[in-house]
């Protein structure tokens, strides 16, 4: 598919999805919201980490920051502005931090980014307690379900469009170069530092904006709930299972993962985590290419089968 076709497909899908609030029950809408949120998080994560092979656990930090922007702006800031501001704050933070830590790789980078979430959480707890005399804030007048849905839908669609744009741009090329051999990329004239910071910030923007958008659903915002590391882990999980170097993979993975988790949770109230874990292990062991490999197989069809046997 050409880039233009993919973008058109994305816009069409988004348009179709925007009809859902009037067709679905609250619960089904909430489930769709979760699918969309994780799709957005996973795609934006993969935008940077998929190409460059970095393992970032900073999603929780960005998400939480966005959530707090909404909480702080609850009296007075319109919802849309808060969401935008949440994204920008996270992006700025990512740029600042990225400049300091993006030279690390592998497990080092992963641990540092995980630490960021904890760092920001503790910093905010301290600030709130010392200067605002409170821990946790109440969002007294949250927006209705429909604006929230549209905000998340818009953000996810934008994330996909951004990922598509990046993939076929010079930035995307540079990122893939960094992913395969950073030294070489540098000798070929790529300003690796700048490109990494740009991509990292871009990916952080969506995580922050999504955090700002979703947090209003919880009425009460406190550091422990919004800086939940599980959000970061789940994003990484979904993106990697889907195939982090693709765009469709994380989307499909987010959909399947959210639906599967919910189905298991409702059907097997005591066992579902065990089942999920078991499925995950089996998936990784016997379908190592992730869901993306399944998608490729379906797409290429006969050609794939022939290629496999020829090789």
């Amino acid at each position: 598919m050409t880039r233009r076709d993919s973008m058109l497909a994305t816009l069409t899908a988004a348009l179709a999805l925007s009809a859902l609030p009037w067709l679905m029950s609250d619960f089904a809408l909430a489930l769709t919201l979760t699918c969309l949120m994780y799709a957005g998080l996973a795609v934006s994560w993969a935008m940077f980490c998929g190409a460059t092979n970095y393992l970032s656990l900073a999603t929780a930090a960005f998400f939480g920051m966005g959530a707090y922007v909404t909480a702080w702006g609850a009296d007075g800031l319109p919802y849309g502005v808060a969401v935008l501001l949440g994204g920008l704050t996270a992006a700025a933070f990512a740029a600042l931090v990225g400049a300091a830590v993006l030279h690390l790789r592998g497990a080092y980078f992963a641990v540092i980014t995980f630490g960021l979430g904890e760092l920001v959480r503790h910093a905010i707890t301290y600030y709130e307690k010392a200067y605002a005399g409170t821990v946790g804030r109440v969002i007294a007048e949250p927006p209705e379900a429909i604006p929230i849905y549209f905000a998340v839908l818009l953000l996810t669609a934008l994330a996909v469009l951004a990922a598509l744009a990046v993939r076929s741009s010079r930035l995307g090329l540079a990122l893939r170069g960094i992913g395969s051999d950073e030294e070489r990329a540098r000798t070929l004239g790529v300003n690796t530092r700048r490109e990494k910071i740009v991509a990292f910030s871009l990916s952080a923007f969506f995580a922050g904006a999504l955090g700002a958008a979703m947090a209003v659903r919880w009425t009460y915002i406190d550091p422990l709930t919004v800086f939940n590391p599980f959000i970061g882990f789940q994003t990484v999980l979904i993106a990697m299972v889907g195939g982090a170097h693709t765009i469709l993979g994380p989307i499909v993975s987010a959909l399947l993962f959210s639906l599967l988790t919910e189905f298991l949770r409702l059907q097997f109230p005591y066992l579902f985590l065990s089942l999920l874990g078991l499925l995950l292990i089996l998936l990784v062991l016997y379908l190592p290419g992730g869901l993306a490999s399944l998608i490729d197989r379906w797409r290429l069809g006969a050609r794939w089968r022939r290629w496999k046997t020829d090789a």
């Binding site: 393992l55 540092i112 301290y126 985590l273 995950l280």
Partner: protein, 289 residues
Amino acid sequence: MAFWFELVATGLITGGIYALVALGLNLQYGLMRIMNISHGEFLMLGAYLTWLGHTVLGVNPLAFLPAVALALFVLGVAVYWLCFRRIVRTAPAVEVIEARSLLVGFGLLFLVQNAAYLMWGADLRGYSFLAEPIEIGGARLMANRLVIFAFAVGASLLLLALLRWTLIGKAVRAMMQSPVGAQLVGIDTRVLHPLVFGLGLAMAGVAGALLSMVYEISPGMGEPYTVTALIVIVLGGLGSALGSLLGGFLLGLVEAFGMHFTSLSLKMLLSYAVLIGVLLARPKGLFAR
């Protein structure tokens, strides 16, 4: 004077536990690039086994340690065989092993934690063992914490000695330095991998057993320790066993002193600031080769 001694002692005791957990994880990661994010869950199993042994069978927790170590070693070998062996063998590159083992680790985390919730319920459990204060040099410390420290350091030093002076230890270190080179000189990775993995989990189990003497246990207790272990490994340098030991102590001391000199609330900030600082100065950790 007694006050400083107590502060240092507290830091070292906490650090000893961190070091023990980190060493186990470091073995798995340094050797096989297995990112076992479920490491802490096996710590939790060790804690529960000890609690069961003490409250149901009436066994002294210290005497039970070898049993716990053995049980988790066997479990570790089984887990490696079922879950990780395939990844290590079939992955085309080291980053791929890391990525896939991370995902499998998540699966294990869900599985083991949920099994614990089912078996023992979510309630907090606890028992008291050697909860008597001891006075050393004017400082008052709990006997059980001292015991934990002694065992943690002992186990760590034992491991280091094994690595340095036994033939198997040398083989393991060789594999950590260069997997291909080790195989070329005839080291059988098929035997050593599961052994080392099992050893790593055994150490986690022992750490959990020791912790159960002081703290309450619950099915979710393992995750924070996994995180701390990762931090310690990174701080000390991946693949460096000595680095994990010293890194653990360092983290413990930073926490203890940080809490005292700054507000309690800033403790975590300080720990992470130190981590970031270290990595900025020495990107591969303090003791990496």
